[in-house]
């Protein structure tokens, strides 16, 4: 098993500061869904991780904890996160992306 970054939508969507994406070393890995959390009355949309691209470095955790001071990201075992975003299920729009969540363990 291995660790990947997991973003808590409720915490992130309260501010969605968009810092972590600028610091993830991997391209196309932390993406934004500008509508996430809106159904719960949260304003800004949330970041989420394409777990198949995440290398588990935890740099985003440091950025969210120490620069953004939002503590929205935790490292989790890939088999513990439940349905997640995978590159093949991500749709790009004009200024937004959405992901259909699926089991991240391929088998």
């Amino acid at each position: 098993m291995y660790l990947i970054a997991y973003i808590d939508t409720e915490i992130c969507a309260a501010t969605s500061c968009k810092l972590c994406t600028q610091y993830c070393p991997e391209a196309n890995t932390i993406l934004y869904n500008n509508d996430a959390g809106k159904e719960k009355g949260l304003k800004y949309g949330s970041a989420y991780v394409a777990v198949d691209r995440c290398k588990g470095c935890a740099q985003c955790v440091w950025v969210c904890d120490n620069m953004a001071k939002h503590n929205a990201i935790k490292m989790e075992m890939i088999d513990q996160v439940g349905d997640s975003a995978l590159t093949e299920n991500i749709t790009y729009g004009e200024k937004n992306t959405t992901a259909k969540l699926a089991n991240p363990i391929r088998g």
């Binding site: 070393p25 196309n28 993406l31 290398k55 935890a58 740099q59 440091w62 729009g93 992306t97």
Partner: protein, 296 residues
């Protein structure tokens, strides 16, 4: 080398991988994209085998986002860690033999000029400190003395990372590394000073813990190289393997090193300022209007 080179031959698009289709439909080609928009458009850098958490990877990613015209850009690299990622982007990459990168880029830049005239075609070299300041030193300096119009970016991890930890000219004095067990005996080379002496029109130091600054520096360097002459960026891009930096502390290290000995610096010749001000809307470089003195 135009917007069309990324497009599909009609009828073939459904056979293309999803990543490629996303790149054509939602990538940065022909648009103005910026670091502040990342996460909402498809980046041209794809998956690659560089180490988890490597600051060099982050820098390369930011550089690819910052290129002013990615559809008209060619990167040149050489042996070393960086090329493992630079070669995995949707823009042409040329591999120069170790140390030859600035020679290769000189020929390429001249060839593009002959073929395309004044149509902007940007050449950007990205290579490690060993490849640039040691093995490729002569070719780097001579390309600057010859005023070749392309951008040179040193990915300075202060070590030969790809071959397991030898000291380079850019390693700091006293540093102990796996294959420098008694510590380096000489000072870090002053490549910034040499860049200025040999006639670079724009010279900057940057650390990737400030992504927007990386973006700004890359844009200026590429635009000045296009219009005026050689440009040089020296970026601190730590090797978390050879310097044993825990991956979640890489940005903390970048901040410490920036405060300690890698402060942001920028040098522009008057010609560079004029080009940026007059051709690319950088108002801060336009001459200030003379104050009208009213006789009292």
């Amino acid at each position: 080398m135009s917007l069309d080179y990324v497009k599909f031959t009609p009828g073939f698009d459904r056979w293309m991988p999803k990543e490629y289709r996303d790149m054509v439909d939602h990538g940065p080609f022909g648009k103005k994209t910026s670091v502040s928009q990342v996460g909402t458009f498809k980046e041209i850098l794809e998956e690659h085998p560089m180490c988890a958490g490597c600051a060099m990877t982050l820098f390369i990613r930011l550089a690819m986002i910052a290129f002013p015209n990615p559809e008209d850009t060619i990167t040149v690299g050489t042996a070393g860690c960086g090329r493992l990622a630079i070669s995995q982007a949707a823009i042409p990459f040329v591999y120069g033999n170790y140390g030859d990168q600035n020679g290769v880029a000189s020929g390429l830049t001249r060839g593009l000029k002959l073929r395309f005239g004044d149509k902007p075609k940007d050449v950007v070299v990205m290579a490690g400190d060993g490849g640039m300041a040691d093995i490729g030193f002569a070719q780097t300096l001579h390309s600057w003395f010859r005023k070749e119009k392309f951008t040179t970016i040193m990915l300075d991890n202060e070590v030969y990372g790809n071959t397991g930890g030898q000291e380079s000219g850019m390693t700091n004095k006293g540093q102990v590394l796996k294959m420098a067990p008694v510590g380096k005996k000489f000072e870090k080379m002053d490549m910034l000073g040499m860049a200025k002496v040999s006639g670079c029109a724009y010279v900057a130091t940057v650390v990737p813990n400030n992504p927007r600054r990386v973006e700004s520096v890359i844009k200026k360097a590429v635009l000045v190289a296009r219009e005026v002459g050689p440009t040089y960026i020296q970026a601190y891009t730590s090797c978390n393997i050879e310097y044993a930096i825990p991956t979640d502390k890489v940005m903390e290290d970048a901040k410490d090193v920036e405060n300690d000995r890698y402060k942001f610096s920028e040098y522009l010749t008057d010609d560079a300022k004029q080009a940026l001000g007059e051709l690319y809307g950088y108002k801060e470089y336009l001459p200030k209007p003379a104050k009208t003195v009213t006789a009292g």
